[in-house]
Symmetry: C2
Subunit: 138 residues, 2 copies
Amino acid sequence: MQLTPQMRLTTQRQIILEELGKVKTHPTANEVYDMVRKRLPRIGLGTVYRNLELMSETGIILKLEVGGTQKRFDATVDPHYHIRCLSCGKVNDIDIPVMEEINKTAAEISQYQILGHHIEFSGICETCNSQEKEQMVN
Amino acid sequence: MQLTPQMRLTTQRQIILEELGKVKTHPTANEVYDMVRKRLPRIGLGTVYRNLELMSETGIILKLEVGGTQKRFDATVDPHYHIRCLSCGKVNDIDIPVMEEINKTAAEISQYQILGHHIEFSGICETCNSQEKEQMVN
DNA sequence: TTATGTGCAAAACATTTGCAGGAGT
DNA sequence: ACTCCTGCAAATGTTTTGCACATAA
């Protein structure tokens, strides 16, 4: 873990990062808490929030501001897009090439200083789709 | 307002829709509440939430699941993209042509049934940018 | 008249924060 | 030792909900 000089390498931080790295879904803070708690039963939810926030500020992980009610976290920091299932809420990566050039287009037509962009697809995942089909049969 | 048969046209609904239509920013529920309250001082925040939710389900308005802590609402329902200021949090439309074809690309490479996509640019708006410059001078 | 909607207040969630004690360096 | 960090619990901010009364159709 890349830390700032005064940022300490604690057990909690190591384990949060390890657990986040294990999954390809993009867990919410509470899901990370559940994962980490299996190894560190006394960890507090506040510690999880504080460290996820800190790591995303440092750039070690990504905080995803996707749809739904909760923020999600991603151990993969290089630019990529996401897809969210409107039925179960799960968020996955989608392997569509990142369009760096549209930032320039945006800069030309807007008064903003453009810092980046994110694409979120929405749909129904395979699992939810097959569950719907089952229900139609019944 | 296009209503379902059993959906009543109340004063509250008319005014919420009128006020939302007046602005080009994309207000949060609380901002809509403040706008509407000037004309209907006794309206409840719950009513505003209930109706914004209902209207977005009906398709009369759009609920924007953009970054930040609050949902935002948009009276313009035809597809378009947004840009959010990371400094003040404001969300505006950005007039970049909608790329309908990337839904097909997404459908080809993923197992999801694709329903749509949304692009959110992030940056610093003109107002915040000039404020920053002022501060650097001081 | 009667089902739907509203105002109000409480509840439910998600997230942040204050503080006293604990631990990395 | 000296900070920074943690667990805990309380606070905060956003959204939802239950219920008695009001109102559109």
